[in-house]
């Protein structure tokens, strides 16, 4: 089965989707603590939606954002307010909330017309601080820093009340996000975004409207973050400013770096890798780590993430997805490989 592009082999996609939806049943059969693993996977699913959008902005377009936890927060609070206080259905909120966050993204895109790199990163980080202050100030709707209780998702009368139910909702949305992200990446828009990243002057010379596409990149990225935020609020049942710390924005950047920038599948792999490392690997090994180094799991986590990012940037800039591609090429050419290192 070939995709729209000659190099795309999509045979494995239906199998993967079936696998994704069979996974909860397999987990339930294997372990009594499957609900815990489903919770971790659900979180990864929500973050995948966000990092796909972030990859389109930072990976494809080269515009760094340290404000994506704020976009997530706006999506979460908007949806919580729309559903629980305004009374609109959750399914409608899944459309409106991303659009509102997209508009915020569009507005944040303005500075990106003049600044790039570290300065843009700092500007988006500042946006994160402003959003946090706004949430606290708008306490009539947000309940301030005390946090907001949120109702569970209800679609056509069905209430998604448990991690089990949430898994199917979140991963359906995540699959849609990945497909849409891939399509955007391979479309005219995606090519324009990559052209801007590689050389703004060259892109402009070939007819790419810089301002339009840069702001479009922020808008699209906001849409994905808003979608993730709406799901986050209703599946978590409680949101507060502590959920959307600036450090989360940095983790999102690490996720796409580890997965491999400019690759939607890379964003998926990187997010899974970091979330599983953070929520399964570190807690499991924290006692061992504490015993050997006399430091807490959380401290080693920051150290580990820093080290992983450092190693990937130096030795594997194409990330996990790049590694996978190289391995595929290696086996395709085997045994006639050029004398090069595998990884």
């Amino acid at each position: 089965m070939k995709g729209r592009y000659e190099d795309e082999n999509l045979t494995w996609i239906p199998l993967l989707i079936v696998g994704i939806f069979l996974l909860p049943f397999m987990l339930k059969g294997i372990t009594y603590s499957y609900k815990y693993y489903l919770f971790v996977l659900n979180m990864a699913g929500i973050y995948i939606i966000l990092t796909v959008g972030l990859d389109l902005l930072s990976g494809y377009t080269g515009l760094i954002s340290l404000g994506h936890s704020a976009f997530l927060a706006i999506g979460a609070y908007t949806s919580a307010i729309l559903v629980d206080q305004v009374g609109i259905p959750f399914i409608l909120s899944l459309v409106i909330s991303p659009l509102i966050v997209g508009i915020f993204g569009f507005l944040i895109g303005f500075p990106a017309l003049r600044i790039t790199g570290m300065y843009l990163g700092l500007t988006t980080m500042g946006f994160g601080f402003i959003v946090k202050r706004l949430i606290i100030a708008l306490r009539v709707w947000t309940k301030g820093a005390g946090g907001l209780e949120v109702s569970p998702p209800v679609i056509f009368g069905f209430t998604f009340n448990s991690d089990w139910d949430n898994y199917f909702l979140i991963f359906t949305c995540a699959i849609i996000a990945v497909v849409v992200g891939r399509r955007i990446g391979k479309s005219k828009i995606g090519r324009a975004l990559m052209a801007i990243r590689d050389s703004e002057q060259a892109a402009e010379a070939t007819g790419v409207h810089l301002a339009k596409y840069k702001m479009l990149a922020f808008f699209i990225s906001g849409l994905f973050a808003g979608f993730a935020g709406a799901l986050f609020a209703h599946t978590s049942h409680f949101i507060s400013t502590d959920h959307f710390d600036i450090i989360l924005s940095i983790y999102f950047i690490i996720m796409i770096l580890v997965g491999g920038v400019s690759s939607i599948y890379g964003a998926v792999l990187g997010t899974l890798f970091i979330v599983l490392l953070d929520y399964l690997f570190v807690p499991e090994l924290k006692d061992l780590i504490h015993g050997v180094f006399n430091i807490e799991g959380g401290d080693i986590q920051s150290l580990l993430f820093g080290l992983i990012m450092f190693l990937f940037i130096i030795f594997q800039p194409t990330g996990l997805y790049g590694m996978w591609i190289k391995m595929k090429i290696y086996w395709k050419l085997f045994p006639f490989n050029p004398k090069k290192r595998l990884i």
Partner: protein, 388 residues
């Protein structure tokens, strides 16, 4: 017929016996496993290490004296880094994977709020959440029937402080410096209640968690003419605020909520902290209260490092007393439901540190009073009895 009746009665008794021995997660023949979620590597990690250490001191004492109904208490601690999402993950792990009997002493308001759905879903009680937010004993909230609060809420503390200030000086102009997070939100709630009940307007100045510069807030209070200032901070905030005020030549009477009661405040603030009065929901660790005497004895017996000893370590110790009392009352064959029922039988229970604790099916606040502690010549001195 007699045989059949006898057999019927015997079967009935056996069934009843089995029912009584219904097993619960985390309970084995010789052990009860409880779960604790602390901030071990986040902004409150200093407390995260000390609180469970205080609890373990009491558990060790109980275990060496035969445990609870012959079972040893074991506590598993997870880290949430003061992140509510991590708190949810940690609570899920403890309940689903480690199969703990109950949760105990989860630190922080937003982490405790975030885990409410898990408590409700699994029916797991949370005993003595380590936050003084009044929302913990709000019985209209989700899983409120499973949460047993031991501390007087920040809202009530603030209201008591305002009442006390006005009782001393009816013309007092009151200022409030609060942290703009969940903690401060609950303090503001108490301030609003006090404002409406007394008719006095309180000048409010916010600061961000982790702030180290309070010159702006102090200058505003000075400009507003506040004669009495309540500091709703933790340890470093009251120290810096009082030192800043002293440096600016501004000398209102300072008050603080319970987290500011740490003895390091008076030590570090020096002369600027003289007269600082804080509210506390338990007796002092170095007082003559029964629990405090036992605490110091055990610290000495088990050679607890001096750096650990103090308000927060003692807090871990006394909340462990409440949990153990609940476990005792849950009976020989404890279940989560029996723990809830057992705790709800506490009626003016005096553990020797908290004011008498009362729980019922409709009230899980435990206590609603505080003592006031004033720094006199550098020494913390209790100046009131329990007031509410």
């Amino acid at each position: 017929m007699k045989k059949a009746t006898g057999l019927f009665i015997l079967t009935g008794l056996l069934v009843m016996g089995c029912g009584n021995r219904a097993s619960a997660p985390g309970v084995s023949e010789d052990k009860i496993l409880i779960g604790n979620v602390q901030d071990l590597s986040g902004p409150m990690k200093e407390l995260g290490a000390v609180l469970p250490a205080g609890s373990n001191l009491y558990f060790r004492y109980v275990n060496e004296n035969g445990g609870v109904h012959g079972r040893q208490i074991e506590m598993k601690v997870e880290d949430h880094q003061y992140n509510p999402q991590k708190a949810v993950a940690a609570a899920k792990k403890l309940i689903e994977k480690d199969q703990v009997f109950c949760l105990y002493q989860v630190i922080g308001t937003s982490p405790c709020e975030a885990i409410r759905p898990i408590l409700a879903e699994s029916g797991t009680p949370l005993v003595a959440p380590a936050t003084q937010s009044g929302s913990m004993s709000d019985m209209s909230r989700e899983a409120a029937d499973l949460i047993f609060h031991t501390d007087t809420g920040y809202d009530k503390q603030t209201r008591i402080l305002v009442d006390n200030i006005l009782a001393d000086n009816v013309n007092a102009k009151i200022g409030l410096i609060y942290q703009d997070d969940d903690y401060g939100e609950n303090v503001l709630k108490g301030a609003a209640v006090a404002e409406s009940s007394t008719g006095v307007a309180i000048q409010k100045e916010a600061y961000q968690r982790g702030a180290t510069d309070f010159a702006g807030q102090v200058a505003n209070l000075m400009k507003g003419g506040a004669t009495h200032v309540i500091i709703a901070g933790v340890v470093k905030e009251p120290i810096i605020v009082m030192k800043t005020a002293a440096a600016m030549g501004y000398a209102p009477k300072f008050y603080g909520t319970s987290p500011t009661m740490d003895h390091r405040v008076s030590l570090a603030a020096g002369p600027a902290g003289e007269g600082f009065t804080s509210a506390n929901f338990a007796s002092l660790w170095n007082s003559d209260a029964v629990a405090a005497v036992l605490y110091r004895e055990l610290c000495s017996k088990y050679e607890v490092p001096e750096a650990y000893m103090g308000m927060y370590h003692f807090y871990g110790f006394i909340t462990a007393q409440v949990l153990v009392e609940g476990l005792e009352r849950a009976g020989q064959y404890p279940t989560r439901e029996r723990l809830v029922n057992g705790l709800e039988t506490l009626n003016n229970w005096d553990g020797g540190a908290f004011p008498p604790i009362t729980y019922s099916q409709t009230d899980h606040a435990g206590t609603e009073s505080v003592i006031l502690v004033e720094v006199k010549e550098g020494v913390q001195t209790v100046i009131t009895d329990w007031i509410d």
